[in-house]
Symmetry: C2
Subunit: 262 residues, 2 copies
Amino acid sequence: MSSATLEAPVRAIRIAPCPATAQMAAVTPLKTACSSCHLRDLCLPCGMTGSDVERLDSLMFTRRRVKAGQALYHEGDRFAYMYAVRSGTFKSSLTLVDGREQVSGFHMAGELMGLDGVAHGTHASSATALEDTEVCAIPYAHLTEVAAANSGMQHVVSRLMSREIVREHSLMMLLGSMNAEERLAAFLLNLAQRMKARGYSSSEFHLRMSRQEIGSYLGMKLETVSRTFSAFQQQGLLEVDKRHIRIIDPAGLTRSFETRLH
Amino acid sequence: MSSATLEAPVRAIRIAPCPATAQMAAVTPLKTACSSCHLRDLCLPCGMTGSDVERLDSLMFTRRRVKAGQALYHEGDRFAYMYAVRSGTFKSSLTLVDGREQVSGFHMAGELMGLDGVAHGTHASSATALEDTEVCAIPYAHLTEVAAANSGMQHVVSRLMSREIVREHSLMMLLGSMNAEERLAAFLLNLAQRMKARGYSSSEFHLRMSRQEIGSYLGMKLETVSRTFSAFQQQGLLEVDKRHIRIIDPAGLTRSFETRLH
DNA sequence: CGTCTTTTTGAATACTGTCAATTTAAGTGG
DNA sequence: CCACTTAAATTGACAGTATTCAAAAAGACG
């Protein structure tokens, strides 16, 4: 139940002009204006000016709820929307030839999903809610229309895509050159930083993903993830209770992947 | 010397309106029109119409030569150009905190580099020539100008960036879920396919990168790369003579990473 | 021709994966 | 509400794979 306190701030996000109920949202999707969104600083951090945001507002993005375990889109679906997470957590994943799942990312409030679909017009990965979630659906065609009339907006979209490329670079780095402890340490510190950016505690949080999903993302088996959590606990770096994490010694965690000896 | 025959077709690429000498190029950079470029089908495969290409031509990209071992740009350099490889091979890499190099990609004729710089206005990785090379320098500011006046062009740029994201997804997959043999097999088959798309033999080619660079890219040590080459040779899948590769049994290579048993 | 780099190969070690058993948590249905 | 089933997480023992250290051979280059 300790996770409830952590969830509270996310649940508190409400759109000023449309304080509708959840029931209404399920039937008639809410529209959301970026200018009044509590997440705008996270979502559009690429130097958007006030006038850019106003232009975005002309689109009034549709909100959509996705329940825990449900998919927002599937690998191969036609690409028409990109999505901004409003609340909750998603995973991106793709299915390997042998049927196993490969997790390629986790997405928290204010982060974007679906940009990999621009390339071929179909989503290259699936997005699945790890808890009850809410997203803004951004019609890509409309976005490019706005962008065509406004080069500033175009820059924003380009930067967002480039940011995704950079993000994946660093993950490749992680997968290519780190051992199990370093990978998990980097993962936890990254999560902590993102939690902090969202106003949560960076030292204590609840994992929304399973050991298996973490392992898939970090390129290791779920047993190794579990063992590494235990090792960190024995080293006095963490307290772990299933999915509840308390970081006791962040500097020690940082050292564990900066002090590369092998 | 066997590589000379492989290089010949690349060297043969000449721009129709400007058949200048290499010496001239070093002093007064040549300008290149996309419409007359032999690589246009590789470089702009995202559904560009004839009129789009004409608009691109108004920019007349500057050509630049980069000698083997030299950097086209460094990690941290201000981002102003993206680059299209005209001939030769590049590697993208970044420097880890401990000073080691992490290779994040290899780029052949017709492929783009530098898109990771859009995010923060500085290049997130370095690009180094693995042999004597030639690139088209594409001023990003001009490109966005053209794109602003032409939404079709904007789509092209967006698709190119998205394609980069998808490419990195598949590399992550590789790093996250494959063993040494599978990684090297996937790498070689990918190279073979790209050679074929450029009109070279897909069964016999010359590697432009060292075992160490391959290892860095694939997340394994150079010794393991070497051992895996030897293993493939013993299995009758390859003939390896240093950097000269002949693929004897492509189907066998494919099986080696499709028949995933672990 | 000597030096430096790259590549190959061997032997020992370390790490991660595999298999299996147990515990705990979370649903499900009577 | 409780027994039952299912899923998630932990832990141990062992096997397998990749890394490390070391040495030697083969080119590359001035």
